[in-house]
């Protein structure tokens, strides 16, 4: 079975003597699959690790009776929410969920009194239970529970009272509670992604600003495709999106207000402005501006005002991403002759190069945890996504395809989304996700082709 079960049983042996005899049998049967921890770090061992995922049963959420709330049937929602939770856990790469299509349903009584034997019989280390019912105010009440089937203990108990239209968010909140409890990591599923939806022939692509949940749900197009749209970023409060539009045959950064559905220029200028990013507090916007062919990085209050220039080399200084405390900026410059990564203070002082590996480095993004910078590396064949520390150490490449580009961090700094472009006359772009091991690589579902993903924070 799984590595996590072996660890769990080891804990059991010291904590709960009464259960040791019964549990040892399953531990022995599990032993052959467990990877030796002192094995050399080869590709084979990495592959083994990826197979040792905690098995979690996720039966359809129960409902007292099939009720219709805002046109939605609670029994259908119970199944769909379990589907979302199972898909989230699977995509994280850490878990092997048994979703509602592969396990039996549960009754309301079982929600708080799970039949553990039924789930250990399915080799499930954990089981998720939940319910959906109508609230007295016309919304929904959702319960979310996680149990350890071996210890027979409750690990998570949460309830959400929501508007019916927010039922997906309840499933993401429940996924986050399960993921955080089992992994010890901060949550990330209840978050949104802004990206560019692509369609049409390669020589004349239609590119539209679009937004969706972190799993692709609740998809919505923002722009109609008449003007090229590029490189969107959600503001930290999700109320605005900064992006580049080719409206009126000019390249300019706009701030789109998701509430009023109006947009404003980030700065009034006759020059090309692009590559926008928010500061972590949402008060400032970094952008790049080309003046007479020379591109530098500027910062401007999000509410408007006079931009401050942060770089002044004759080369291309472009992009940029704030450290989570807002004190530093990692950016890209070809002042050395090729694209490389640099770190500077938020006021532009103390600019230092951090990338020294082979090839060129681009699109740096500082992790929300602060511990790593993600980047695109070019040169010598494939274009790949990787990470390094903010001082330039510990470089690791996480993907290896023809062209992987522009990583964006999950809110907890453990997963990256990026876009992958295929070669050739019919080359297309799609959104992908990979965790920091590089092993758990998944394509994200989008209605059309996709590029330029930008992952926002966990929703309040």
């Amino acid at each position: 079975m799984t590595y996590s079960l072996s660890r769990k049983l080891a804990l059991l042996a010291t904590a709960c003597g009464a259960f040791v005899a019964a549990s040892t049998a399953s531990a022995q049967s599990a032993a052959p699959a467990a990877a030796p921890t002192d094995a050399p770090r080869t590709a084979e061992v990495v592959a083994d690790v990826s197979n040792e995922r905690t098995v979690i049963a996720v039966p359809a959420f129960a409902t007292p009776s099939a009720q219709v709330v805002a046109g939605l049937r609670t029994d259908n929602l119970g199944r769909q929410m379990a589907d979302i939770i199972a898909a989230n856990l699977e995509r994280s790469g850490l878990y092997a969920p048994l979703g509602p299509s592969s396990v039996r349903g549960i009754t309301m009584d079982e929600v708080t009194a799970p039949r553990y034997a039924d789930w250990t019989a399915r080799n499930a280390d954990n089981v998720v239970h939940g319910f959906v019912r109508a609230s007295s105010t016309g919304g929904l009440i959702v319960g979310c529970y996680l149990y350890d089937t071996v210890l027979g203990t409750e690990l998570v108990r949460q309830g959400y009272e929501i508007q019916a239209g927010d039922w997906r968010r309840a499933a993401h909140k429940c996924s986050d509670a399960i993921y955080s409890r089992l992994s010890g990591e901060a949550p990330f599923f209840d978050s949104r992604v802004a990206y560019i939806a692509e369609s049409g022939p390669k020589g004349n692509r239609i590119k539209r600003l679009a937004i969706m949940d972190s799993d692709g749900g609740n998809h919505r197009f923002i722009t109609n495709g008449q003007a090229l749209a590029l490189s969107p970023r959600f503001s930290p409060d999700y109320k605005k999106i900064v992006y580049v539009s080719y409206l009126n045959n000019r390249v300019r950064v706009f701030i789109y207000d998701t509430v009023t559905e109006k947009q404003n220029l980030v700065t009034e200028s006759s020059n090309t402005t692009f590559a926008p990013r928010w500061s972590p507090d949402g008060r400032k916007i970094l952008f790049s501006m080309a003046v007479g062919g020379n591109t530098d990085i500027y910062v401007v209050p999000a509410s408007g005002g006079t931009p401050t220039r942060l770089t002044s080399t004759p080369g291309i200084d472009v992009g940029g991403s704030f450290s989570p405390d807002g004190s530093k900026i990692v950016f890209e410059s070809d002042r050395s002759g090729t694209q490389q990564l640099y770190v500077m203070n938020a006021d532009g002082s103390d600019q230092r190069r951090i990338s020294f590996g082979g090839g060129r480095y681009a699109t740096p993004e500082w992790s929300p945890r602060g511990d790593l910078v993600a980047f695109t590396r070019l040169g010598g064949g494939n274009i790949r996504v990787g990470v390094m520390t903010p001082s330039g150490g510990g470089e690791r490449l996480l993907t290896n395809s023809w062209q992987d580009e522009a990583p964006t961090w999950s809110p907890n700094g453990r997963v990256l989304q990026f876009f992958r472009t295929s070669a050739g006359r019919d080359g297309k772009s799609s959104l992908w996700q990979v965790d920091l091991t590089g092993v758990n690589l998944r394509r994200l579902p989008t209605p059309q082709d996709g590029s330029d993903p930008s992952w926002g924070p966990v929703q309040p």
Binding site: N249, A290, G293, D334, E405, T421
Partner: protein, 172 residues
């Protein structure tokens, strides 16, 4: 290749014959601009009647509407200068015409850097036209980065055609 200053007509002929030995010009030149190329060409382009001062007139009159660049380069070499001289002469004959100088990059780069690179290329072409006496106020720069490839293959021949600065007449 060696190329002395000469008349535009001679240069145009010379370029046809020596183009193949250039170190960076594409092996086969892209077709004349079609509507799908940038979406900003004069709607009269390609029709039989050539309106003076139009994009069609421009393309028919100059050595080429575009110049090409090496990988990650933006220098205007002798061949490019000859092309731009022919463009400058046409612009001097059509003083009311304004143009957009589009800068483009190949697909094997990151999006934002390629926009910056397209800016460099378009400005290099603009600056050369200005040095020949064309007012900078008649030339708008528009970088497409890698967004609008002229050749859609993923090979060096296509990339060489896509690393370009294209002069486009603004339709009136």
């Amino acid at each position: 290749m060696t190329m002395k200053k000469s008349t535009v007509a001679l240069l145009a002929v010379a370029m046809l014959t020596v183009g193949a030995c250039s170190k960076k010009a594409p092996a086969d030149l892209p077709p004349p601009p079609a509507g799908t190329d940038t979406g900003s060409y004069d709607p009269n382009a390609g029709q039989n009647q050539v309106v003076p001062g139009s994009q069609a007139d421009f393309v028919a009159s100059v050595a080429s509407d575009r110049i090409f660049f090496g990988f990650d380069q933006y220098n205007v070499d002798a061949e490019d200068q000859a092309t731009l001289r022919s463009q400058a002469e046409w612009l001097q004959r059509n003083p009311a015409v304004r143009v957009i100088l589009e800068g483009h990059a190949d697909e094997r780069g990151t999006r934002d850097y390629n926009i910056a690179l397209g800016e460099r290329r378009a400005n290099a072409a603009k600056n050369f036209l200005v040095s020949l006496g064309i007012s900078g106020s008649r030339i708008d720069v528009l970088s497409y980065g890698k967004e609008r490839p002229a050749a859609i293959g993923s090979d060096e021949n296509a990339y060489a055609q896509n690393r370009r600065a294209v002069t486009v007449v603004i339709a009136r």
